[in-house]
Structure formats: structure tokens, C-alpha cells
């Protein structure tokens, strides 16, 4: 039976003291690597009723992203470092000072060969996932916001065929790059995702926090939140915009009607059945969006802010990295 969002239910919720920002699953298993605010990278087998979280190594600050690349898992953090760890031996293979500022997100090309990292130095760096060799530097995001403050580069994602890579920044600027050459193919804008408050509070909030290409590579989904009234809080509705990026057209927008907060993670069902948007504010959410009907299929509250998810091959199990917990959800019919 195919994954059915209507059947969404909680399988387990494991409390932790830390904030989990990233999760990566070893194919064919329920074994996951986790990126933690305590600077550690953890491994755990979530098929166990009471999984043991084993720390395999440490960064110097929050670890914000983990991805699998061949026999390695790669972690990136606010210390600007990239660390390669052997998924079996759980030892460090390599560590690089990759960025001068916070690394926000990593992505691996579908063939596992290229690794992309984005950071607040506003550069996207492409690495040879196996050797750690720097392949290219992609510069297309301005360092300052229009209001003279440091900008941030939050999100990146590869297209399914690996030929393209998208990056998105705080001000709502998106660049699609050609992976092989580092050429800018196109730029898109989602300005609603960035709120600058010039009157009440004189600073900003928001940004593009998640990107995902559809299974056929034609669509690019962009996640964040809408315009915020009181920027002291994540109080705007969670927001997703979808672009036919090759034609520079926005084909759908989901301004959100139920949950407030940031869309931290987007994942298309490979056949296009739905688009999963996960994120949160004080609480978290999982939203399944129907692109054809342009409406939400299912929207479910999660006890706490969801920062990242990993899905299994059948797309019927969701492993979620959250604020103070790890959640497992089932979509089995």
C-alpha cells in the first residue's frame, strides 16, 4: 500500500536535551545520523524501541546539517567546518575549514559525487564528496541585505539529475546554477519570505530556509514564512512557493492557513503525489501539499519545532529531527 498522508501517525517520540538540526538515513535501514546543538554528530538505530544515541565526533559549535555521501556521512556546522565520518567505523575521515562563517546546509548530488555547502559567507562551495577537494565556488548572493546588515545563505538543493543546484538566501533571492560549470542559469525571487521592519523594530526576520526540486526536475519548491507582523516571534504562516524555474514562473503558492513558523525542510514525493513541508515555531508541523489541487492534503501538528526530516525508500516513514526530540512518523495505510 502506498504512503498515505491521511494515515499519518506518530510511531515514537524520543526526548533529548539538545536541539537536532539535521538527520540523514543510511539507505535500506532505520539507522540515522543526527546533527546536534551540543556540537556532536550522533548515530542511532531508530528501529529499536529505545535507541542508543552514540556520539561519533564533535564540531566546535552547533552542527546544522548531515548528509550521506557514499561510505561517508558529512557534517557541517556553525564552526565553518565540514567533517567526513566513516558510516561503519564511525571514525573521522577528514575535516576541513570550509567557510569563514556559519555553515547552514549541505546537499549531495544524486550520484553521490558532489557535495554542496552553503554558509553565511554567502558562498556555495562544491566539493568532491569522495576526496574533499574543492571543485568550485558559487558566488551570487550579496553579503549585505538592502538594509546594510549581514545576509545569510540558508538553503541548497540538487536537481534529481544532478545537473543543477539551487541556493536561497535571507532576502528571498534564489539562484539556480549549472553544477558542472558553476554558471548561473537563472535567478528567482520570493521576497515575501523576508520581512524587514523599518518602523517598529528596525531589523529583519525570515529568509528562504528550504529548497527542493520535483522528481522530474521541472519544479523548484521554496520554503520559509510569510510577512511577519511582530518580528519578535515566528508568527507568520508557514509558506511554500513553487516555481517552474526554467521559465521563471511561479506556478503555485501555499500561503499557509494552519501553522505559523518556518518551513525548514521540503521533500517531493518522487511521483509527484505530494510535497512534504516540515518546520515550526514554538510547535512543529508536517504538511502534505497537493500541487495539482493547490491545497493541503494533510496538516499535522508536531509537539515541537521540526528542523529536518529523512524519509525511507517507500516514503511511508518519516524520521524527524526536532527541538529536543527525535520523532518517527508513519504514513502506512
Amino acid at each position: 500500500m502506498a504512503a498515505n498522508p491521511e494515515k499519518l501517525k506518530v510511531v515514537s517520540q524520543l526526548s533529548r536535551r539538545d536541539i537536532l538540526f539535521g538527520i540523514a538515513r543510511v539507505p535500506g535501514t532505520a539507522r540515522v545520523f543526527l546533527a546536534s546543538s551540543d556540537a556532536g554528530v550522533y548515530v542511532a538505530d531508530l528501529s529499536q524501541p529505545k535507541p542508543d544515541f552514540k556520539e561519533i565526533g564533535k564540531h566546535k559549535s552547533y552542527v546544522t546539517s548531515v548528509v550521506l555521501a557514499g561510505s561517508s556521512v558529512v557534517s557541517g556546522g556553525y564552526d565553518g567546518r565540514l567533517c567526513w565520518w566513516d558510516t561503519q567505523k564511525l571514525t573521522q575521515v577528514r575535516a576541513l575549514d570550509a567557510h569563514k562563517k556559519w555553515i547552514r546546509k549541505l546537499a549531495v548530488s544524486p550520484d553521490g559525487r558532489a557535495l554542496a555547502s552553503v554558509a553565511d559567507d554567502m558562498v556555495c562551495r562544491l566539493w568532491d564528496a569522495a576526496s574533499g577537494k574543492l571543485l568550485n565556488e558559487l558566488r551570487g548572493h550579496t553579503e549585505k541585505t538592502p538594509h546594510h546588515f549581514s545576509s545569510m545563505l540558508y538553503a541548497c538543493a540538487f536537481s534529481p539529475n544532478g545537473k543543477h543546484l539551487a541556493t536561497g538566501d535571507k532576502t528571498g533571492h534564489i539562484v539556480v546554477w549549472e553544477t558542472a560549470t558553476g554558471r548561473q542559469v537563472t535567478t528567482l525571487e520570493a521576497p515575501v519570505m523576508y520581512t524587514w521592519d523599518p518602523v517598529q523594530r528596525v531589523h529583519s526576520i525570515g529568509g528562504i530556509r528550504s529548497l527542493a526540486f520535483s522528481g522530474d526536475g521541472a519544479l523548484l519548491a521554496v520554503g520559509g514564512m510569510g510577512k511577519v507582523g511582530n518580528i519578535d516571534h515566528l508568527e507568520a504562516k508557514a509558506r511554500v512557493e513553487v516555481f517552474d524555474w526554467q521559465n521563471g514562473k511561479r506556478t503555485a503558492e501555499f500561503p499557509g492557513d494552519k501553522f505559523t513558523g518556518l518551513v525548514e525542510r521540503l521533500e517531493f514525493h518522487p511521483k509527484g503525489d505530494w510535497l512534504l513541508a516540515a518546520g515550526g515555531a514554538m510547535d512543529g508541523f508536517l504538511m502534505f501539499l497537493d500541487l495539482k489541487a493547490k491545497k493541503a492534503l494533510k496538516q499535522e501538528k508536531v509537539q515541537t519545532h521540526v528542523h529536518d526530516v529523512a524519509l525511507n525508500e517507500d516514503r511511508d516513514t518519516i524520521y524527524a529531527a526536532c527541538h529536543g526530540r527525535v520523532g518517527v512518523f508513519s504514513l502506512k495505510g
Binding site: 536535551r17 539538545d18 536541539i19 546543538s37 551540543d38 556540537a39 566546535k60 559549535s61 552547533y62 556553525y78 564552526d79 556559519w102 553565511d120 538594509h147 546594510h148 546588515f149 549581514s150 545569510m152 518602523v199 517598529q200 523594530r201 528596525v202 531589523h203 529583519s204 526576520i205 529568509g207 518580528i231 519578535d232 516571534h233 515566528l234 508568527e235 513558523g261 515550526g280 515555531a281 514554538m282 510547535d283 512543529g284 515541537t304 519545532h305 527541538h323 529536543g324
Partner: protein, 432 residues
């Protein structure tokens, strides 16, 4: 005559200058009329330079102590930022403040404020007045007290200028002269870099503006003959200050600064206002408050501080450098202060909430022992473990740094009211 109310810092290096200056005052007291003292250029220049001043950088909404002056890297509550060493061995501050880290020899940190009030309104009132109002007694705020203590009765510049452009929190702690009366109320700038009504109306020529003021004076003098009233006198004094204040419009004009100087402070609103504050201070304004709002990061604390702290770091460093080069830093106290700090606990919106139990502020420049650190919060930042102080001791320290006796009395009717609550002692360890 122009009698200055402030005291001198008393350090030996100023002894000679002080003698020279006091000579001038003595001569004035012996009969030099009116502005005679000011007419002596050497004394006047010295006086202007030695006058003590204060700039308050008011971090409205509550900046996080953990992302500024009291970082706790590596603990659960510490957040993602690291701590960096400063030019003072053993003192570390947040990595978001690399420029201030290099200038720590001018600055002391107080890491042990426990002010017990996590409400924006009442917290701000306490932190701007140094105490709580009584039902029938409104206390003057820091600016009003300093305007009175450091300003000159016949000043041609404002005594107390307050910038607050953001609208959020503006009403929480409006400048207030309390029982000192409106003579010491702030000139408040809310929307425009130029104070209200400081520029002559275009329908009135300069000559007529001056002449009609003289006509007014003549008529009012007739009325004042044989009538003695401080209030009546204040009416005429207020009008006598109008033309001088109007001439200070240039002080508010940031475009009169060379581009290099504007670049030094940066293009943000806060940067420009602090640059104007320096212009005002240099011209003899004793107190300027520049409010940078709004730090209330219940959501996205780290993004907010990543955005706002580097600006504070940059602007504050520019101000210290600039004042230093002008020889004004040792006479100018710079305070960073808020109504409270932020919780060590990080909420699921990656925010920090209101927290008044263990937070920090900084004092730089005049009267301060640079590099000193007072007080200590525990490992997680949840409570003060050493040197706990409240608003009263902080204010006593501020007054002392400016050479003002914190136990000096004002009189409200027949009731003596000390500047800070009876028995409050300044923190000597951070005073030069």
C-alpha cells in the same frame, strides 16, 4: 554667571589644568559679569573639554548577555556563538563583537545584574531611573539628573537629547525629568534627525524672529518687575535659550561630517544617530541617549543577534575610536544598557525570552577602570554567583564615574531625596 555644577575626576594629571580653570572661576566669582568666564578662550576650551558627558546606548527590548558580554560557549544554554579573547588577558566576549574585543581596555563589564523585573515597561523604568517611582514621587531619569548635574544653567545647547526612532517600546521608558521639572526634560527625536521646532518657520525672517523675541523680552521684563517666582524666571530663561538652541541645528546635521567619518560609523540609522550623539557631546551636550530597538528575540534569537550585535560592535568601536582621537573619551562615559537580558533557556523558536536575574551591561570611558569585569553568572548563566547588584548600585557607579556623589540630596519640598537609594554604594572595582 556660568557656574558649572560638575565635579572633576580628581586624577593627578589634571591638577594643573584644574588650577588654571579654578582661577578663571574665582575671577568670575569675584565679579566678572555674565559670560565673562567664557570669554577667556583658553579657559573656555579647557572647560569644554573637561566637561563630563555621557552617551547611553539603550538596547531596547533586551539584548542577550550571552550573545554580547557574557558568552557561555559549549554549554546547553550557550547558543552557537563562540567566545573570543579580548585585548585584556582572561576576558572573553562573544565572537559577534570582535571590534570591541580589541578595545576592551576602555571598557568594564558588569555581569551580575539581578534587577528582578522581566517586564518591558516597568523594567525599562527601573533601568532608566535607577529605581521605582513612588505613587506621589516621579523620579528623574539618568538623562535628567545628568542634565542637571553636568549641564550649564545658561547652556546654548540642549542638555538632554534622546533618539528613539523605532516605535516598539518607545512608550516604555519615555525620557522623564520627574520631580526635577521640565527644564531637564529631554529633547526627544522620534522621527526626524532634526528636533521639532528647532528651525525657524520660513514665513518669519531671521531679523523679525530676533526682533520679536526682543520685543517679547521687553514686555516680559516689565511684567517681571517686582515679581519673584522661579517659575516666572524659567519662562523667560526658556525663551532666552531659543535662539541658541536654534543655532545648534547644525549639530544634528550628519551631512556636515566628512564622508570618511560617516563611513566610520556606517550607514545604518543607529550608526548615524551615534555619530550625531558624538557631535552633540563634542559641542557640550552633557547627555545623549541613543535607543537601538528592538532586541526582543523571542523567536530567532541567534539570527537577530547575528544581525544586530555586529552593528552594535561596529558603531560602539567607531564611537570609542572617534572620541579617543578627539581627546574626549576620558571625559565621556558610554553605557550599554537595556531593561533586562535574555533567558539562558533556548525555546523551540530558537528564541530567548525576558530575563532579569543574571544579565550584563558595559561602561566605557570616563571614570572607568578599563578591562575590569565585575560579578559572575553561573556556568549556565541562570543566576548570579558573585557580585550581585541591582539598578541602584549600577546608578551609583555611573554617577561616581562621572564625579557625582551618588548620595547627594535633592529636595522635593522639604523632603530630602538622595540620587540613589540611601546606603547604596558604587562598585569601586570598576572605577578608575
Amino acid at each position: 554667571m556660568a557656574v558649572r555644577r560638575n565635579n572633576f575626576c580628581g586624577s593627578p594629571e589634571h591638577a594643573i589644568d584644574r588650577r588654571g580653570f579654578l582661577g578663571g572661576v574665582a575671577a568670575g566669582a569675584a565679579g566678572l559679569a555674565g559670560l565673562g568666564v567664557l570669554a577667556e578662550p583658553a579657559v573656555a576650551a579647557e572647560m569644554k573639554k573637561q566637561q563630563k558627558r555621557c552617551i547611553l546606548l539603550w538596547l531596547a527590548g533586551g539584548a542577550s548577555q550571552l550573545e554580547t558580554w557574557d558568552p557561555k560557549p559549549g554549554v546547553e544554554t550557550g547558543g552557537p556563538f563562540s567566545a573570543i579573547p579580548t585585548s585584556v588577558p582572561g576576558v572573553h566576549i562573544s565572537e559577534l563583537m570582535p571590534k570591541m574585543a580589541q578595545r576592551m581596555k576602555h571598557t568594564c563589564l558588569i555581569r551580575s545584574l539581578n534587577t528582578r523585573n522581566g517586564d518591558h515597561n516597568s523594567g525599562a523604568q527601573i533601568m532608566i531611573r535607577g529605581r521605582r517611582d513612588e505613587p506621589n514621587l516621579k523620579y528623574p531619569d539618568l538623562g535628567a539628573v545628568l542634565a542637571r548635574e553636568l549641564g550649564r544653567a545658561d547652556s546654548q545647547v540642549p542638555d538632554y537629547v534622546a533618539f528613539y526612532f523605532a516605535t516598539e517600546g518607545r512608550g516604555s521608558a519615555p525620557g522623564s525629568a520627574g520631580f526635577l521639572g521640565s527644564r531637564y526634560a529631554p529633547m526627544e527625536l522620534y522621527k526626524s534627525m532634526m528636533p521639532e521646532n528647532i528651525v525657524r518657520h520660513k514665513d518669519v525672517s531671521d531679523g523679525d524672529h530676533k526682533d520679536r523675541a526682543e520685543l517679547r523680552d521687553l514686555l516680559s521684563k516689565q511684567f517681571a518687575r517686582g515679581r519673584v517666582s522661579p517659575t516666572l524666571a524659567s519662562h523667560n530663561e526658556a525663551y532666552q535659550r531659543v535662539r541658541g538652541l536654534m543655532a545648534s541645528d547644525k549639530l544634528f546635521d550628519v551631512t556636515r561630517e566628512p564622508q570618511t567619518m560617516r563611513d566610520l560609523y556606517g550607514p545604518t540609522q543607529f550608526g548615524e544617530q551615534v555619530l550625531v550623539a558624538r557631535r552633540l557631546i563634542e559641542a557640550g551636550v552633557p547627555f545623549v541617549r541613543v535607543s537601538r530597538a528592538w532586541w526582543d528575540s523571542h523567536g530567532q534569537n541567534f539570527e537577530t543577534h547575528q544581525e544586530m550585535v555586529p552593528e552594535l560592535d561596529h558603531v560602539m568601536a567607531a564611537l570609542l575610536d572617534d572620541l579617543g582621537q578627539r581627546g574626549l573619551l576620558e571625559h565621556t562615559l558610554i553605557i550599554t544598557l537595556a531593561e533586562f537580558g535574555r533567558t539562558p533557556q533556548i525555546n523551540p523558536s530558537l528564541g530567548r525570552d525576558h530575563f532579569a536575574s543574571a544579565w550584563s551591561c558595559s561602561l566605557s570611558g570616563c571614570g572607568i577602570k578599563g578591562g575590569a569585569v565585575w560579578g559572575k553568572s553561573d556556568q549556565t548563566g541562570n543566576r548570579v554567583v558573585d557580585g550581585e547588584i541591582g539598578a541602584a548600585q549600577l546608578f551609583a557607579t555611573i554617577y561616581s564615574a562621572l564625579g557625582i556623589n551618588p548620595q547627594k540630596h535633592y529636595y522635593v519640598g522639604s523632603r530630602p531625596v538622595p540620587l540613589t537609594d540611601p546606603g547604596t554604594k558604587p562598585i569601586k572595582a570598576v572605577l578608575a
